[in-house]
Amino acid sequence: MSVFEQVWVWLTSPDNWAANGIPLRLLEHLRYTATAIPIAALIAVPLGAYIGHTRRGGTLVVGLLNSVRALPELGMLVLLVPAMGLLLAFEALTIVLVLIAVPPLLAGTYAGVRNVEPSIVDAARGMGMSEREVLFGVELPNALPLMLGALRAATLQVIATASIAAFVSLGGLGRFVIDGNALRQFDQMAGGAVLIAALAITAELVLAGVQWLVVSPGLRPTRTRKRKATT
């Protein structure tokens, strides 16, 4: 049997799809992702919107983000769990995942708000919009494509990184990769990796759909049909 056939057999085996098999790990994985992303967004979006709108503190935040990006996730997790105690392993994992998701979300929101055409913001203010109305009515809607792009990137990264949950007995799809590696069961290891990739791709597709729904048609990048210009 080739490697691919072995993986296929593992992936389709009914035993692996028993309630405490793949479905459980998938749910765990989803739970970690679904916890970390909203928390990260809650931190990153308001902060990014604020510094993008006021144009204050941009350099400082970008520098900080880059240093956070350099942190090794696994090392941080292994450090945090003993420090916080095994009972708080989930919280420790969430902290690590949030730290991964914040930089791209913050950068995307900041860049999105900041890069809104100055003439548009000028017009908005000149027509009598309050700062709040400028931010919520003009800057954020125009920043949405970049923000959602950042959300997709962050989600992808968190799904990939959540595999390390298995290192601290939290399961997730990473369980299969680690167990497979330990037991030299390559079908399980590769199968786990395929599942993680499939989850990432699915999330990407769902978010792309969301982006298509919530971003104004006026901001869609590809407009191949050039309308006849009359003046």
Binding site: G126, M127, G218, R223, R227, T231
Partner: protein
């Protein structure tokens, strides 16, 4: 009425962009701020709606200090049009136009209905309302920008180089449109441009500013051309100002002489017989001019056909024309005879340059020309 009283704008680094400006802008006219870059014209404009706050001095809007109310509230009562229109890309054209009424609390459906009417008013089909700004041409975007500024029916309109980013032909159309709109609406318009020709074409009054933010001259366009206050204004107003000043003098006094006409499709023989000084104007059934024929152009054909015409110069409309259009029609005509037309566009006669110059001399004698 907008009054600038000793208004100065000085930046932290000490640069003075507007220096003790005293200026009164009358209601119901177009006042143009013009000058080279760095003269503070845009700054002066933006101080009116408090996009920039003056360092010292007072600006009164209808007698009340503009600082008496919050900037947002003040701005909602003043139309604002900027260079690239600054339309909101994420909102449909209709919603762009409805912006200020919605801010002021008008119901969205009502505001949209009014917006559709406004689009037609600025010369755009109402169907365009459903599109997004990126689907419009530059000229269309600018029209939407004007409609958006007019949406809440503000008495005052600030226009900051609104037409400078579009090509000359479109710009010309937009300028005509603005004048037409203004003759209907009678708003108080403050208009900034660096283009003196635009200033002279649009302005009821023109304020020429010099670098450093000092007012060099504040006068009607005709006066600016006839009597520039100093060398700066004279050089800024530019060459041909004597000629351009003719644009402010009515051509009522210019005698319209006869002109030889020949119908399109007439035989070459007929055409030759009607030539006057070697030239004749070819006209269609409604007597509208199509071009010229001459001895030379008739020598090789036996009928007057559209493709054989020598194209004509500019036309001079008898009732509304100025000395400038009269003179230009004569100078640009291949026959040295300007074609005079009536309001329907039909040929009524011809004018020669000499008579225009003579009419100018008469006008001068009667004191109609500022000297």
């Amino acid at each position: 009425m907008i009054e600038f009283q000793a208004v100065t704008k000085r930046y932290d680094d000490g640069t003075v962009v507007v220096d003790s400006l005293d200026l009164t802008i009358e209601d119901g006219g177009i006042t143009v701020f013009v000058g080279p870059s760095g003269c503070g014209k845009t700054t002066s404009l933006r101080m009116i709606n408090r996009m920039i706050d003056a360092t010292s001095g007072t600006i009164l809007l209808d007698g009340a200090d503009i600082r008496a109310q919050s900037p947002a509230k003040l701005r909602r009562g003043i139309g604002y049009v900027i260079q690239h229109a600054g339309l909101f890309p994420h909102r449909s054209v209709l919603d762009n136009v409805a912006t200020v009424p919605v801010l002021l609390g008008t119901r969205k459906s009502t505001a949209r209905k009014q917006a559709a009417e406004l689009l037609e008013r600025v010369g755009l089909p109402a169907e365009l309302g459903k599109r997004y700004p990126s689907q419009l041409s530059g000229g269309q975007q600018q029209r939407v920008g004007v409609a958006r500024a007019l949406a809440a029916n503000p008495p005052v309109l600030l226009m900051d180089e609104p037409f400078s980013a579009v090509d000359p032909v479109v710009r010309d159309g937009l300028q005509e449109e603005l004048l037409r709109l203004q003759s209907d609406l009678g708003k108080t318009i403050v208009f900034v441009t660096h283009d003196i020709d635009e200033a002279i074409k649009l302005g009821d009054k023109v304020a020429v500013l010099r670098v450093g933010g000092r007012l060099a001259q504040y006068a009607t366009p005709a006066e600016l051309l006839a009597r520039p206050a100093d060398d700066f204004v004279a050089s800024f107003v530019g060459r041909d100002r004597g000629y351009r000043a003719l644009g402010f003098l009515s051509a009522q006094g210019v005698p319209v002489g006869p002109v030889a006409t020949v119908a399109l499709g007439a035989s070459a023989e007929q055409a030759r017989a009607s030539l006057d000084n070697g030239w004749a104007v070819v006209v269609d059934e409604a007597k509208r001019p199509l071009g010229w024929v001459s001895e030379g152009s008739l020598s090789t054909v036996d009928q007057v056909r559209p493709e054989d015409l020598v194209s004509g110069g500019s036309l001079f409309e008898v009732d509304s024309g100025t000395l400038r259009t009269a003179l230009d029609s004569a100078l640009s005509s291949p026959a040295a005879l300007g074609i005079a037309i009536d309001a329907q566009g039909a040929v009524v006669g011809g004018v020669v340059a000499d008579t225009v110059v003579k009419a100018l001399a008469d006008a001068r004698r009667c004191g109609e020309v500022p000297t």
